[in-house]
Amino acid sequence: MSGEMLYTILGGIQWTVLLTITSLAVGVLLGAVLCAMRTSGIRLLDGLAAALILVLRAVPPIVWLFLIFFGIGTGIMQVSPFQAAAIGLGLITAANMAEIFRGALAAVHKGQWEAAQALSMPARWRLLDVIAPQLLRVSLPSIASYAIGLLKDTAIASTIGVPEIAFQATHVSQVTFQGLATFAFAGCLYIALSIPVAWASRWADQRMRLRVAR
């Protein structure tokens, strides 16, 4: 396989990374909102969020992407492939993040809430200073491992035309008929990209392990 072919595939990396980061960012923010809805104590909000999360996770990602790109994109308004992919993956990530945050909330020791209340800290500071930092630290390993999965899932965006790694690999294999080498290379790229995330996660996890009350 020629260098040019390799270079083409490598060109997809920026899109893969961009899509992953965008979806993650959207997902974390929306996920926090969904989690807040679920733990608000208001039954309507709780039920709504729970239903949304269930549906988002029950339908395959590719179907969401197609719904957004072909469904909304051709009928209601124009959406670029990247936008459709980012929205779709972002929504699914949000659903998963909501569950991760909910679990983390339960793990942060109940006593922390009560101690903050006993010190008469106003609700907002309770949240920001005591709970949220610990919440983040507890969730970090789950978020990191989800991020690795997300990185690989971005490959499905190739089917709606986002020029990331899998898209480029498909294109190259059609031109060169060297499917084995092409897709092997693409596969290795995904594996290689996930390694720094796994390392960073382990490092962060070890550093933060001590600072959470269980």
């Binding site: 029950a58 719904l67 499905i156 995904y190």
Partner: protein, 218 residues
């Protein structure tokens, strides 16, 4: 609304045909992949690096590569080595590999969750390694793994929707065909979503219930 319902009624049989194929390919992959996953998990316990290294490689590739790329690798890649497989066989091969890789980790965790005291009791009673595994560890470790395995099965069914890229006429493939013929993209993909939801939502609820029940037993 009526139009849409009529459209759905019309297209449902074709979609259900595809869905049947989706379920089949998922089912076969799980049936083959989970026992393989168990073998991998057991093989990793070997003290010999010569055995562990290739197993680790199989697992890392099965887990590390994107499912889509794995699919394409098997379907488009194998023919260049002289081996040609049908779409169904390729998808099954790729999914079995993926299943074995992920479930080996699930099963390993399940076996490790068996309390250490059980192993010590078996040691004190002079059980040999094979008996300890067969009679004490696996009977407790496998049930522990069931919720996670079921959760994975659900994910695998969802992953089958990617098989259209290798021309397997499953659900997604049928939907795309209908969509491009009728331009009724929104309705058809909503129907697809509904079909998946009808299976996956109850399945997810069952898994959640099982997780809670199993937790109480321990």
């Amino acid at each position: 609304m009526n139009e849409t319902l009529a459209f759905w009624q019309q297209t449902l049989p074709s979609l259900l045909d595809g869905f049947r194929l989706s379920l089949q390919v998922t089912g076969v992959s799980l049936l083959l992949g989970i026992p393989l996953g168990l073998l991998l998990a057991l093989g990793l316990r070997s003290p010999h690096l010569v055995l562990r290294a290739p197993l680790l490689a199989v697992i890392e590739v099965g887990r590390g590569a994107s499912v889509l790329v794995l699919l394409q690798f098997v379907y488009f890649g194998l023919p260049t080595t002289g081996f040609t497989l049908s779409a169904f066989a390729s998808v099954t091969l790729a999914f079995t590999w993926c299943t074995a890789a992920y479930t080996s980790e699930i099963l390993r965790a399940g076996m490790e969750a068996v309390p250490q005291g059980q192993r010590e009791a078996a040691q004190a009673l002079r059980f040999n390694g094979l008996d300890t595994l067969r009679l004490i560890i696996l009977p407790q470790g496998l049930p522990i793994s069931i919720p996670a395995l079921l959760g994975f099965a659900i994910l695998m069914l969802q992953a089958s929707s990617l098989a259209f890229v290798v021309a397997l006429p499953e659900l997604m493939s049928k939907a795309q065909l209908i969509g491009s013929n009728t331009f009724q993209y929104m309705p058809i993909f909503i129907l697809v979503a509904l079909l998946f939801a009808v299976i996956c939502i109850p399945a997810t609820v069952v898994v959640g219930y099982l997780e809670r029940r199993l937790g109480r037993h321990l």
